[in-house]
Each structure stands twice: as C-alpha cells, then as structure tokens.
Symmetry: C3
Subunit: 342 residues, 3 copies
C-alpha cells in the first residue's frame, strides 16, 4: 500500500462531504515577526500590542491574512493537490481575531460539484472554516477549484452550483468584540485619513513596489505549511516556480498601507482572482479602488469595501483589455471589506 498522499480527484468529492484537514498549527509571535520580515506590513493594530489595546483588543492579533494563509494552507493536500486552476473566492469572513498562542485547524464542506463537458475535469466548491483551540470559527470562506478526474469512467455527479453572494452585505460583517476606535491615534497609525475622507469610486495608487525573490516566497509559503510542489520544485516547473497567490495578496495588502494605513482590519472577502501568475523577479505594485462604504453598527467603526489590484508593471488603474480580459501585467484583483475609524 502506497504511503504517500496522491490527493483527491474530482470523483472523490460528494456534496455534503466534510474534510477535516490535517496538521493543526499553533501560531505565535514568531509567525508575527516573520510576517513583518516577509511583507512591508505596517498597520499599527498588528504591529503594536499597545496600539491594539488602545483599540479595545487584548493584544495585537496575528495579521488577518496570515491567519487566512494558515487556514488555507491546511486545505491544499485535500483540495488543490490535483487542481488545474483556482477559480475563485466568495463569502469570506473573519469572525474572531487570532492571537499568538492560538492553535488553528481547518475543515471544508463540499457545497458544489459540476463536471466539465470534456469529462476530464470538474469544478468543486468548498466552504472552508478555520477553527481555534476553543472550536470557535475564526475564518470561513468559499473557494472553488477545477480538479482533474483520475478515473475518466467515473459517473458525473449531479450538478450542484451553490448560490454565492456577489459581495457580503454590511450586516454580514463581524466587528471583533470590544473593538473601539474612540481613542484611535492617527499619528501613531501613520495617516490622518479616516473613513469619512474616502469616497466611493476613489482610486489610490500605493506607489511603492517590491521585486520578489525565490527565497522569500518559499519561506512564506512554507510558513503556512502550504507545500504544493509548484511553489518549490524547479524541476517540476522548469520555467519558474509559481508564486503562491496568497503571497501576492499579502504583498499587495502591505503595500496598500501607503494610502490606506487606517484600513486596519480585514473582515470580509467578497471575491478574488489571481489574474496572471507571479514569478520571482516580478516587481509587485498595488492600487486600490473604493467600491463601497457602510456602517457597521458599532459606533466609530466604518467599513470600506475595497478593490485591491496587484500588478507587475504597467500603468496604475489599468485593469482589463478592451476585450474585457485582465491585462497581462495584472496579478490580482481582490474585493474585500476592511474596518476603519470614522
């Protein structure tokens, strides 16, 4: 009996199936320090315990995206080992901050299946939940991937395509318990633009860029225990190791500090596309568009819906070609909700 994990194929999934992903992980100040070494991350709430306490939290949480990457990384051996493409995200919510010392694990429920007409692949939708050591759900999101069939004779499952929200409604967003921006220090946070200063439709060029190195994206991806071969093995990908999409997300989000320093907490992920692959040597830049603004119901805390675009060159604010396709230099088109002091 072979001892190594071949991964799951399309015919191995069924609606309602719950996959308990392996290898729980205790995250610590070590992961926090590495996050600051890997990304130009400067949001004050994730940098200073004192700043976090001044905002009503017990200490500085692990970066929301770091928590996402840990939860996501666990799903790779069960969901995307034989994936042809990562097709999308939806209905992502951060429900509880993750603190140093917390232990995270992940589970995914299969909520959609659709075999492709070629009979060789199919699309699998899963709702993934990240849980802490108290069995509290800290993150949940839907993701869909195209997966190969191994046995082409396996019958096609009944097609189930889940109905997913185009975007989370403000009422879906969860503001962390105790969060309070009434003593918010706009000098320490780095910018004095508050929620009221942003307008729907506003575009922000984040100006800075980082040329990515092989060692960096591999350190990051391993840190999340995402060990998919495509990111590490140059003999498997002779034209260049594919950089984990989450590395681009974190890089772009960190770059967005310059113009969005007060978009402190990520609470919702409406959708996202990895428009083109990223390789070592690419210089990642970022721009944002304010898509929407909303009240959260918590006094002083506003929500901003943002498009975050990462590019490897080209002009800021250029997204698609005349044919409606992503321009070749666009790496990421992410749609998320963040909390900001009003």
């Amino acid at each position: 009996m072979a001892k190594t994990n071949p991964g799951r194929f399309f015919e191995d999934y069924s609606i309602g199936q719950v996959l308990h992903h392996a290898v729980p992980r205790t995250v610590t100040v070590g992961e926090r320090a590495l996050y600051h070494a890997l990304y130009p991350a400067r949001h004050a709430l994730y940098s200073s315990d004192d700043f976090a306490r001044s905002c009503g939290l017990p200490q500085s949480p692990i970066d929301d995206l770091a928590a996402f990457h840990v939860v996501f990384g666990k799903t790779v051996p069960d969901i995307s080992l034989n994936a042809v493409a990562n097709l999308g995200y939806a209905e992502g919510r951060w429900l509880k901050p993750v603190y140093p010392g917390d232990t995270l694990r992940s589970e995914s429920e299969v909520i959609g299946l659709k075999q492709n007409s070629n009979g060789k692949t199919g699309v699998v939708w899963v709702r993934t939940r990240g849980l802490n050591q108290r069995d509290e759900v800290v993150i949940e999101y839907v993701r869909w991937v195209m997966v190969r069939k191994s046995n082409l004779d396996a019958p096609a499952p009944e097609t189930v395509v889940p109905e997913l929200k185009k975007a989370l409604a403000p009422g879906d967003l969860v503001v962390p318990q105790g969060l309070n921006f009434s003593d918010y220090d706009f000098v320490q946070s780095g910018e004095n633009h508050r929620w009221d200063d942003y307008k729907t439709g506003e575009m922000i060029d984040h100006v800075d860029g980082v040329t990515v190195e092989e060692a960096e994206h591999m350190l990051a991806t391993r840190l999340w225990q995402n060990t998919a071969k495509v990111h590490f093995d140059l003999t498997f990908r002779p034209d260049g190791r594919l950089i984990y999409g989450g590395h681009v997300i974190s890089m772009a989000r960190a770059l967005s500090f310059n113009g969005l320093a007060n978009a402190q907490m990520i609470v919702g992920l409406n959708g996202g596309a990895h428009a083109n692959p990223c390789f070592a040597g690419d210089t990642v830049k970022a721009w944002s568009e304010v898509l929407d603004k909303a009240d959260t119901g918590v006094p002083g805390v506003g929500a901003l819906r943002l498009r975050l675009v990462a590019t490897k060159g080209g002009e800021p604010f250029a997204l698609k070609t005349d044919e409606g396709r992503y321009r070749p230099e666009v790496l990421l088109d992410l749609d998320y909700w963040a909390l900001m002091p009003k």
Copy 2:
C-alpha cells in the same frame, strides 16, 4: 596576541579532553516559526501545542533536528574549523525534548584519535552532549572528523579508535516521559498509517522536492550559530557556497512527512553520511527505507529504524554504484530511529 580564533588542529586534541563550547542559546517560538519557514515541516507534534498535549507532553517541543543543529553549531569553532571532512555520526540519542524558553549549551569529550599515515591530518572522535539550563543532557552523539595538523612535527598521539555501535539497540532509546499515543488523532496527524502498517524492507518515495536557494541555507545555518566560512563566503568558495549538511538533513526529514507523517519523534541517530555536497540550485528530494522495527516498552509507542536518503535528482531508491560508492546525485544517507503510534 591575535584575538581571533584560529580553531584547533589535530595536535591540539588529547584523549579525555573535555571542550566546553561557547555561546549558550535560548531557543523560543521564534526559532520554531523559522523552522517552519525554512523547511516544509508538518509533523503535528511539533506544529501544535494542543496536539502535543494530547500526546502527553506539556507543549510542542522545538523540532528534534533544530535542537540537534543548535547543539552541533556550538561545536563548530572547536571541532570543525580546520576539518577537512566530516566522517560520520554514531550513537546519537535525544534524551529530553527541548521546549521554547530552554537554554542550550554543548560540550564534547575527545574519545578517539588516529593520525593519518600522511602525517598531515588525523581523525578526531568526540562525544558531544547538549545540555539545558537545568544541566540535563538533552542530546548526545558521537561524531568524527578529519582535521589538519598545523605543526607537522608534533608527535602522533597514541591511536585510540572508539568502539561504536553500528546501531542503537531498542533498549538504548529514551521515550520522553509522559509520551502517550492512546488519544492520537490520525486525522490531525495527516496520515492513518501506524507502526503496524510498516514492514522492514519497505521503501517509500516521498515524492516532493525543493529547489534550494542561497538565502535559505544561510538563514538556517546562521540560526544555529554555525558560522563556518564555507557556508557563507563566496570569495572563499568561488564555485559555490557549500550547504551545511544539517540543512539537507532537515529538508529531507521534512519532505519525509509525505509517507511518514506519524514518525513523530526522532530518538536515535545510528549513523549518517553526507555522500555528496549540496549547492544552491539543487532540488532536494527524499526517500526512506524501513530498516527495522522495535518495541519501546512504552505501551502504544513503537520505534521504526529508518534510512533517510536525500538526492538531487536520479531515480528514487538508487543509492550506490556497482563499485559500492554513493551515486553522484545522493546527498545524504541517514540512519535513525523514530517513535510512531502502534
């Protein structure tokens, strides 16, 4: 008087001499996080405090190999600064888990000496012990190296070649106090193969590979405070910095998760050869052979004796040429004992 350390030469060693190595080191969750960033390490006992507690330990220990590297690194300025070759390891035992907050130091006793017939070099055997802040021995192992003479006129010492065990007997292995696999969670650990499922002679191809980068092996080697010039200074090694052999050991061990996810704790090192040098750009892969199985005396805890081979290409399971030499693509041939739930 020169202030810098020239290292010891062959004539500087004598039987029974005890070398107290410098620079004690407190290891923390920072080192743990870096270990996860540097290697695709996923063994659950070293990833999750909760999983470790479910196995009877107070928290997740520092990876056994990380502890070994810290102990080993301290010996370099006294043992291998003028070494021509690292010849072997034997009788390595992990006696106590190392936890975040522990402070490690090392000492070595000279137990063997043999001048080579050329009169220019000799072999030095040392038994090294790693101790924690409570003066408990946490690791011990024998290592022998070929060292240059500085004064060729120095008389040859009496030849003493220690008798070393080819392999530790099961009774030599120390199971950490309290270790208990009765509540072991095979879903969380990542595989459901237990001790009973492995057969002596079984071969496992660990499938995955990692192409190594300069920055990574230097970060790792420095982390263990091993500052041997050959690993860092390209002007000293213009054809390529030699990668610390321990980096290959850790990489191969981490890759072996895929097929040996339940070989949780390393408790014995029977021997090991760095068959060929490893350089940046090499893609490290690994395979294992089950050499032996043994009871530990602790209910539910079995021991597996494993050969772990790291390669930089070639076919899995190919080890030596017809002439009995290591094939040129073989990097490491390690023989160790690990603990696994029965």
Copy 3:
C-alpha cells in the same frame, strides 16, 4: 486629496519641530530569532537568557542594533523619503535595554538646518529618540541628511548648525542598571580576552565574510519596517537595490564577534559613514581598531571605543586613499563604544 505620503521636503522642516513617527512596534523573541538568522550574531548576552541573568539583567535583551534599526526605521517616512544622502550620525546613546514584549516608538526633533548654495537641497539635523511603552527613552541619536526642496522658491531658513560631540565622553555612557560582570563566564562567551587585554591602536581582522543575498537584506530591512523604495524595487533601481546601511552595520558587528566576543553591549555611537553602497553579491568582511579605552564607574565594567570597518574586498586595515577618500571597497566606517568585562 492624495492619500499617499509624499514625504517631507527641505522647506517642510523648521528648528524645534518635533516629528512623532508612526507605527509603534512590539518586539519579541520572534525578532530575536530572526536577528540570529539574518546575521552571524553570537554575543552571549543576546543569545542566552541564562547568560544575561548571570550578568545581572532580567533576561536577554533584543540586540542593541536591532533596537536601533526599529527606532530608525520609523523615521524613514518623515526624514529620508526625499533624502539625497545620509550624511552622518553623532551622539548616539543606548539608555535602556529593550526586552521581548517592549513596544517601541520614535520621535525626532529638528535641531539644525542649512540650505545648500545650489538652492535645491539642504541639510537637516534631527535628534531622534526611541521610547518604550513606559515612555522611557531607550535610544537617542543625532542624524543628518541632505534633503531635496520641492518648492525651489521657498525661502532659505536661517542656518543653524548644531554643535555635536566628535565622540561621547565616558561620562556620557549609560551602563544598564544592574549590569555586573563579576560572574562573567569567559568560556561561555567564546573568548578569554578582557578589557585589560586590548590596547588603544590595536587592529583586529575579523577574518570571516558573508556574501550577501537580495532576499536577506530585504527580509532584514522590512523587519525594521523601513520600506524605502531604494531597498526593494528593482524597477526603481535597475542597477541593483541599494542595501540598507544598517544591514551592513549589523553584519559587520556580528562578524566582529571573532576577536571582540566580549564587547557585549553597544552603549554609544560616536559617528558613522556609509562610505560606499553595498549590493547583493558583495562579500562583507570587517576589521576593528581600538580607538580608546575608558572606565565606566561601574566596577568590573570597562568601555572600549572601537572603529568598525566593513569592506567588500581589499586588504584588511586599508581605509582611505592617498587623497584622503574612502577606498572604493570600504562600505562602513563606524565609531562606537561597547562595554566589556575588566
């Protein structure tokens, strides 16, 4: 209204102005572990909590230079975003050790201004202070930079050139409270040379070298939240990303362990010049000169004034050309005070 920070120009500074720099940072054992991974740092006081306690401190502090880099990094967006050159340092003092868990922030007072005769640039002197969560000043230093004017029509300010000490006097140095070398362990520290063994004028070649990689200096520089574009964006610096000068300082200081293992704590920075830029691929080596020796008033604790020179090749101890300029291979010429057991 543009949301991104354009940085300050020469005309934006005025004498007496106090800039409160953004983004406080909690430093932890994670930062400590990364410091050991990034630099060949082996000073025992910063490596072992037990060694630190044997010297009268509550635990091992964060490396003095790491603390400096954190304080310095915060000043970049306000001081050197539009700087043409970093001209010098003076009167740097470490006033309190920084421990894991401390939260650092920075503020700078403008103490000098001098417009250059070209009318396009000017020199700005600031005294920067790093404070911890108890509002205690842990580090202070003067730095001056040449900054561009944005509005060339802005009137030149009155010239104020601060009087700065060429070197701190021994009485200016602050020995950390409780520091006590009476139980100092010269075996654990790695060398048996004490303060009494060093002579003014003595030169020490630190022998070892490290060839620097892109990923390493970017990890380090980001860790200090110094996000100046020149260090990260290859499209902005097509001939090579400029390595943060502080990376060279830390590398050279770590290399100086070999010959100065007992120069444990840095307490004063008299001056420093980044003589030539450093790029990835350069092999950094270091040598030191003992410039002065002094009593500290604390029994058993001596102070050594050291010149620390980093080079990228060339002969040790060669510093300037016949014309009095730094030789092209010299990267750094630093003048500092360190504490050593007598």
